[in-house]
Structure formats: C-alpha cells, structure tokens
C-alpha cells in the first residue's frame, strides 16, 4: 500500500472532522444566542470537546485501519453533532448524558479496533452470537414481565439498578452478524432450484426451515415485545440479506406476502398495532388523545417551513419546559430538527444518511468475501431501513414505529450500538479497500 494513499484517506477524514466541529460550534452558538442572547466561548468549548472525542476515533483509525473509508466517521460524527445540539437545545442535562454515551460509544469503537485484529474471526462464533442475541431478547421479555418494565406499551427495556438499556439494539447487530455468517454458508443451498412448487423452483424444505424460523421469530417478537418497529426492522433486514445472498426475488416476494398477511392479521388481532394504524390513517380523529403526538409532530414540522425557525428559536417546549411533542428527544427528534432547520436542514440530514448508506454498500460491493459483503450490507441496510421507518412514521408515509433515529436520537444503547456497527463497517472497508487496491 502506498503511504500517500494512506495519508490522503485519513487526512480527508481529518478535514471533514474539522468541518463537523465547525457545525457543532455554530449549532451551540445558535442555541446559546437564542437562549440568553449572548455569544459565549462555551460553544467553542463544546466543539473542542466534541472534536477531541472524534479525534480519538480518528487516531485509532490511523493506527489500526489506515485504509478505512474516510467518509464514514465524519458522517456519523455529523449526525451525532446534529443530535447533540438539538438535545442540548431541548434539555442540557440530557445533552450531557448523551455526551457521556458518545464517549462510551467511541470507547467501544476504539476497543473493538484494538481487540479485534480480524473481524472475520467473528464468523466462527456465529451460533454463539446468534444464540446470545436471542437470549438477550428473551431476557428482556422475561425481565419485563417480572419487573413490569413497560415503556409506551413496549417491553424493550432492562433495568439494572439505576441503569436501563435496550438489549434489542445490540441483538440487532448480533443477528445481522449471525445472518451474514449463516447465509454465506448456505447461500448456494438456498439459491438452488431442487424442487418445483406451483411452477416455482425452490430449494429443499429442510434448507428453508431455518429461514421460516427466523422470519417467524421476527413476528413472534412483535407479539411478545409489543414492539412494532424492531420487528419490522428485523424482518426487513432479514429479507434484504436473503435477497443479497441468493439474488432470488422469490424470497422477497414470498417474504412480502408473508409480511402483508402478518401485518393484516396483527392489525386485526394485536391492539397495539390496530391503534398505530388507526392513528396513521386518522391522526385528527382524536387530536388530544391517541393522535396527539402524531399531530403535534406534524405541526412542529410544518411550522419549520423551508428554512426553519432557527436553532433554539422554535416552539418545542412549553413555558413549563415540557416538550410540545412527546418523546421529542428520542423517537421524535426528527420533528424538532425539521422545526428548527426547516426543509433545507432535513434535506441535508437525509443526504448524510444517504451518504452513509452509499459508503456502506460501496464497502459491501468492494469486499472480497461473502461474509464481509453480507455483514457490511446488513449493517448498512439496518441503518437505512431504520431511518426510513422512524421518519416515515413521523411524516405519515407509514404507521409509526417507535424506534430511534440512528446516531441522532437521545439514548445510550442505540448510540453505543451504532458506534459498534460503525467500527465493523470501518474494519470491513479497511480490508476491502486495501484488497481492491492490491
């Protein structure tokens, strides 16, 4: 590998990170000016601290993965920056928490690069990882029933002492890893056309059985956890990875058919799902009740207009400091950003996500082996689909799914898990780019 190439990749990354630091400084300055009418060096302090944290990740990349994609880290940093500025504007205490979680995330990022000399060794532990992920989910459900921890109707939290976290965020990574390994191993079998059913060529039933189990598991999660978003996300990632592994559209068509059927049945049978769909279709029917959150979010978004009300100037908190839109720092942070930065800001935000998706899939297409390809694509699809699901739910393109906006929403588990995913993507891209150049 050429020293010049190495330098240029990491130097480009550093330049982009400095740009991100500028965004942080400007963001905090806007919020502080709107709040107290003074320009304070405090915003520079925040920007410096932020740059310092990302700098640690950058140096780790320089040492461990010099050829990693130069856009992934700054893009993720920009998303975190937008999120933390908006969270700070809504609730400074929570922004401090989020900064701590960012530090934990960066620590995990660096630790993973250090400990994991070759990510491909993870393939060997696929069943362990798969079972651990399922066990984490099962533990969540059991502990939720035992301790009665139910948030917004969903059983996705585990409380230990004063800490609470969502194992589902990490199980998501584990299951993507497991599927990448499993599908790499079985892809020929799954793509085979050994039997014909109704004129459609299919592999043997015993090869299909694990797939049915995984698909069925996603639906079971819906019922057991009452978590529409996570189950939809699992199912979508599962279908997309299956399609990547086999290149056979029949799995997607069949999967979507099962999904439509399952969605209809759960719409009729699962009250939680019925409510979500009804709110989606008729949010104004019960403006002060069931539709309140959805309608208030739309008001906040519409109020932003083309260029927004300005950071710190939107009406997002009542006089008593209560959020106008419930869950505005977590699931609904998109509404806050849309309000204060307008369509211009939202377009930029979604472009950053598109950029991450593009770099992630580019990494997948560059990667030399099936496991790397499937893993990179799976992680990227999970991120892109999650953005689509939560934003689509807020802007009424789809029923609402209570999941986080990756890297942006307030929430420790989600943020840390995303940094772990980012570390894996960087590791894959480092190897892929080096091999591609060689």
């Amino acid at each position: 590998m050429s020293a010049a190439g190495l330098r240029s990749s990491r130097n480009r990354e550093l330049g982009l990170l400095l740009l991100v630091a500028c965004v942080v400084a400007v963001g905090f300055t806007s919020v502080l000016v709107a709040r107290s009418g003074v320009v304070s060096t405090l915003s520079l302090t925040y920007a410096a601290a932020f740059l310092g944290l990302l700098g640690v990740a950058h140096v780790a990349l320089r040492i461990a993965l010099p050829d990693a994609d130069p856009v992934l880290l700054p893009a993720a940093g920009l998303l975190v920056a937008v999120g933390i500025v908006e969270i700070y504007r809504l609730d400074p205490t929570r922004a401090r928490d989020q900064a701590i979680w960012l530090a934990v995330g960066v620590f995990c990022f660096v630790a993973l690069l250090t400990v994991l000399s070759d990510y491909r060794s993870l393939e060997r532990y696929r069943y362990l990882i798969g079972i651990a992920s399922l066990a984490a989910l099962a533990l969540t459900i059991v502990s939720s029933y035992v301790t009665g921890t139910v948030v917004n109707g969903a059983r996705v939290w585990i409380r230990v002492g004063g800490l609470s976290f969502q194992p589902g965020e990490f199980a998501k990574l584990g299951l993507v890893l497991f599927m990448a390994a499993f599908l790499r191993e079985k892809r020929e079998l799954l793509a085979s056309r050994e039997r014909r059913v109704l004129g459609i060529a299919l592999p043997r039933l015993r090869h299909l059985l694990p797939l049915a189990l995984m698909g069925g598991g996603a639906l079971a999660l819906l019922v057991l956890m009452n978590d529409f978003g996570t189950s939809l996300l699992f199912f979508g990632v599962f279908l997309a990875m299956l399609y990547l592994a086999t290149s056979r559209l029949i799995y997607v068509v069949g999967g979507l058919a099962v999904f439509v059927l399952g969605a209809y049945v759960s719409y009729r049978l699962v009250p939680h799902v019925t409510d979500r769909v009804d709110i989606w279709l008729h949010p104004w029917r019960d403006v002060y009740g069931a539709g309140y959150q959805s309608v208030q979010a739309l008001y906040a978004i519409a109020d932003g207009g083309a260029f927004g009300t300005g950071l710190g100037r939107g009406y997002l908190l009542t006089n008593g400091g209560q959020p106008v839109v419930p869950a505005i720092q977590t699931d609904y942070i998109y509404a806050a950003i849309a309000n204060e930065t307008g369509l211009a800001g939202i377009a930029a935000l979604l472009l950053v996500y598109l950029l991450v998706v593009q770099r992630g899939l580019k990494t997948a297409s560059l990667a030399g082996d099936g496991f790397s390809k499937l893993l990179a694509a799976g992680l990227t699809i999970a991120l892109g689909l999650q953005v689509f699901l939560i934003v689509g739910g807020i802007v009424r393109a789809a029923p609402l799914t209570g999941i986080t906006l990756p890297f942006v929403s307030y929430g420790g588990s989600s943020l840390v898990a995303n940094w772990v995913a980012l570390a894996l993507l960087c590791a894959i891209s480092d190897r892929a780019r080096r091999e591609a150049r060689a």
């Binding site: 000016v33 709040r35 739309l298 008001y299 009406y315």
Partner: protein, 488 residues
C-alpha cells in the same frame, strides 16, 4: 452479489427520497392549512410573541394592555389584559390564542399586530425581529368615553334586565358609548375559560334586534312633513284606535285624545294617529317604498358600515314573522303597524341611535366610526378618521321641525324622565310588546343639547314591565349627562 447490492441501494435511496418528499409536503404545501388549525400550538405561540398595540379610549384610558413574560427557553410572550374588565367587553372584544378575536381587537387587528404598515415600516420591524426583538403593533385610539360607558353599564346593571346603550356624536358619527348587559370578563377569553356560547357574549347594542315601538314615530312624523300634506299643527281626530285589515290598533292604556295635532300626537305617542299616518303615507298598500326607502336612507336593511367585525353587527329592518330573517325593502309590510314600530319591524340600539343622530344632524346620517386614530409605537400617525356623510334622510327643515316636536316629548310628554336641568333634550320613548308574558322592550332615543347636539343616544331595556319613559329614559338622561360633563 454486487448487482443485488445495487438494487438494495436503489430501494433504500428511494425510501429516503419518499420520506423527504413527505416532509416537503408538510413543510411547504400543508403548512398554511395546518397553521390555520386551532389546536396548533405553534400558531398560538407566534401570536403570543407579538406585542400588540394598546387600545386607548378617547380620554387616554387604557382599554387593552399587554402582560409580558419570559418563558423558560428565553422567549418573550405577551398576553392581553383588559383593565376595564366587563366595562368594554363587547365593543373592544378580546384577542385570545385559544378563543380567537372579537370586537375592535378583531376589526383593528392589522394595526394592532403592526401588519398594516408601509414598506419602510415593514423592513424596520423585520430587522427588529431578526435582531431578536418582538414585533410591536400600533396603538389604536377609539372614540369611546369611559365615564359615559361606565354610567351606561351601571345603569343597565341596576335595572336587573338585559339591555343596551349606544351613543354617538351626531355631527361626526364617532361612537361615544356602546354598552351591552349582561357582560363578561374578556380576561377570561385570554385564559380560554370563556363560555362557548351564551347571552352575555352577544353585543346587544350592535346585534340585538328589538321592535322599536313608538321610538320609530319621529321617522313617520318626518315623512308626513316631507310629504307636504301635513304640518306639526295638522289636526287629527283620535277615537282611541285605528282600524286596519279589520282589526283595531289601540292607544296605550285605552287612552282617547279626541281632537289633537301632530306635535301632541308625538308628545303623547298616540298610536291611532301614527298608524293612520303610516297607512296614509303608503296609500294603504303593503308595498310602500315611501316608508321603507326612508328607513333605507337611515341605514336600515343593511349592515351598518362601522369599523367593527361584521359578525357582531346586525342589519335592522322588517323580518319574516317569527324569525330573524331580514326581508328586502321591497317586501310587503303592514304600513299602519310598522308606523308604530311593531309588525316585524326590528332595529338595533345602534340603528336607533343613528336615527336620533340624523335628526340631530339636520337630516344627514354620518358614517359611524370607532377608531379615531392609530399611532406607531414611536408616535407616527398611521391613520386618522374623517367625517363622512352616508346619506341625507330628511331635509334640514324637516329635521328641525321634528326636533321641535321631540323637545315636547321630553318637556311635557312621555319622556319627562329624561330632563336634565339647564339642557334642552329632544327625545322619544318607545314601548314594544314582546308577545311573551306581557313583557315589554322599553326604548328611549334622544339627543342633547337640542339646539347644538353633542350626543345622540338609544337605550333599550329588555323584557321589562315598565314603559320606555320609565325604564329607558332615565338611563339615557344619565348617560347623556355623563357625555356632556366629559366634553365640557
């Protein structure tokens, strides 16, 4: 596999474009329709962030002020306060984030929010708001006189009955008093705790439609004089009733005056004479442009052109029996009964004050106005009222002849309760049957001083057992005195 990756990329990119498209829809296309929704707190806050102009009475009394507050996130918000509480509730109205706007707060809203301004002013206020300042509206001064308004409100309250007082300056049309009882506290509207509907919310002075009864008789007398067939001294024989359509219209209390003249007939409000005059002026026909045309010139049959919300103004005229549906001036009327202010003729106190004002102003009806002037916070004059004649209802000589007759009403007739020592009053009582429980609507219209009118007034007291001369005339007297005291 790379081909499949390309497909997945296309699907994800399409998904992101879709959600961007939906966001754009809400932010660009649906924005205005969402903004118009009442449950939209963002719009409410936008209104609250404007420092509305003050509303001042003619003597500078503050009728609407702002209470500023800084919220937790450093935002300046303003809430309306009405220091005079129930006193000006109907006419000044309220501006509330939750309950909307009414009264002058509504009709003068463009000035009050500073939207009614020239390019330079708009630029200045835009720069000001960019610098983080609040938008400040222009101050609106109305012609209302607090002393007289207070007198009217407490006099109405003292009757224990619903009622209204409307007074204006006859030569200019400036509204001096607009009082309606029962009233409400507009500060409650700001807090959103106003009853959604209720009799207290109705501005009886501008919206209340009552049969005017005998208070319409000066108009009939004027038409009689204008016809050239009658003089104030023309004689009539009063048998105690007038017969029309085979039914008799009796005088009040079965009185019978025998031989009398037009002046005496007005002084003592003799129904038989005026019913007969009405019938004669209309040639006993149901279609009577002579009568309805005169009413039209006085302002009947259309919403008065007051600078006040149209929703809170009612047109006077003949209505379809048993309804409030206003008929056209060409619709058939009952001439004799209309001439004594019954038979589906209804009028607002405001309209009857305009009738009194027409006699006081030599027969010319002036456009009524509430707003005297508007000034920017820095003192620049943005608007100033001017006098505008609406129509000539009667000739000057007719007006002065009827004025003479109306003086008799107060000096020696049914309106004696309205006398003010040292001031010559011209007036006319009215007592209309409501058809319910023998209840009466008591009227008094007047102007003073008769030779140099400063104030024209109409008073109505609803559902009373008393006649206009007893229930309404004393209120008119007190209010007119308050006006004259305030201007001297």
């Amino acid at each position: 596999m790379n081909r499949a990756i390309g497909h997945v990329y296309a699907v994800l990119a399409f998904g992101l474009v879709v959600v961007l498209g939906f966001t754009a829809y809400w932010q660009l296309w649906a924005e205005s329709s969402l903004a118009a929704r009442r449950d939209n707190a963002h719009q409410i806050v936008q209104q609250l962030s404007i420092k509305r102009g003050l509303i001042l009475a003619a003597d500078g009394t503050k009728l609407a002020i702002n209470r500023g507050e800084t919220t937790a996130d450093g935002r300046h918000v303003y809430e309306r306060r009405y220091p005079t509480r129930k006193m000006f509730a109907h006419i000044i109205g309220y501006s509330s984030a939750t309950d909307g706007r009414a009264g002058v707060e509504r009709s003068a809203n463009d000035y009050l929010v500073g939207a009614h301004t020239d390019l330079g002013g708009a630029l200045q206020s835009e720069l000001h708001s960019l610098a983080g300042g609040s938008v400040t509206g222009d101050d609106v001064q109305v012609s209302l006189l607090p002393a007289a308004q207070r007198t009217a409100m407490s006099a109405l309250a003292a009757t224990g009955k619903p009622g209204a007082v409307f007074a204006l300056e006859p030569r200019t049309g400036r509204v001096l008093v607009s009082a309606s009882w029962p009233s409400f506290d507009p500060n409650k509207a700001v807090q959103g705790s106003l009853p959604k509907a209720g009799s207290a919310l109705v501005n009886r002075a501008t919206q209340g439609l009552y049969p005017p009864g005998s208070s319409i008789k000066p108009v009939i007398a004027a038409l009689a004089l204008e016809s050239g067939k009658y003089q104030p001294t023309s004689t009539f024989n009063d048998p105690g009733y007038f017969e029309e359509y085979g039914r008799r219209i009796y005088n009040d209390s079965g009185e019978r005056f025998g031989r009398t003249n037009l002046t005496d007939a007005l002084t003592h409000s003799i129904n038989s004479v005026f019913a007969g005059l009405g019938s004669a002026l209309c040639n006993a026909r149901a279609r009577c442009p002579a009568l309805t045309g005169a009413l039209q010139k006085l302002g009947f049959y259309s919403i008065p052109p007051l600078d006040y919300p149209t929703e809170q103004l009612a047109a006077s005229g003949t209505v379809r029996s048993g309804t409030s549906h206003l008929l056209s001036p060409n619709a058939p009327i009952d001439p004799a009964r209309t001439a004594i202010g019954q038979a589906n003729l209804v009028a607002t106190p405001m309209q009857m004050a305009m009738v009194a004002g027409a006699f006081a102003n030599g027969g010319v009806v002036m456009r009524p106005t509430l707003v005297d002037r508007v000034r920017s916070p820095s003192g620049t004059l943005r608007y100033e009222r001017h006098n505008e004649p609406l129509s000539r209802a009667f000739s000057a000589s007719t007006a002065s002849a009827v004025t003479e007759m109306m003086k008799h009403v107060v000096d020696e007739g049914t309106g004696r309760e309205a006398q003010i020592p040292g001031v010559q009053i011209a007036g006319k009582t009215g007592t209309a049957q409501t058809g319910v429980n023998g209840d009466l609507d008591a009227w008094f219209i007047a102007f003073a001083p008769a030779e140099d009118p400063q104030v024209a007034i109409a008073v109505v007291v609803e559902r009373t057992k008393q006649y206009g001369g007893q229930a309404a005339a004393p209120i008119a007297r007190d209010v007119m005195k308050a006006v004259l005291d305030a201007s001297s």
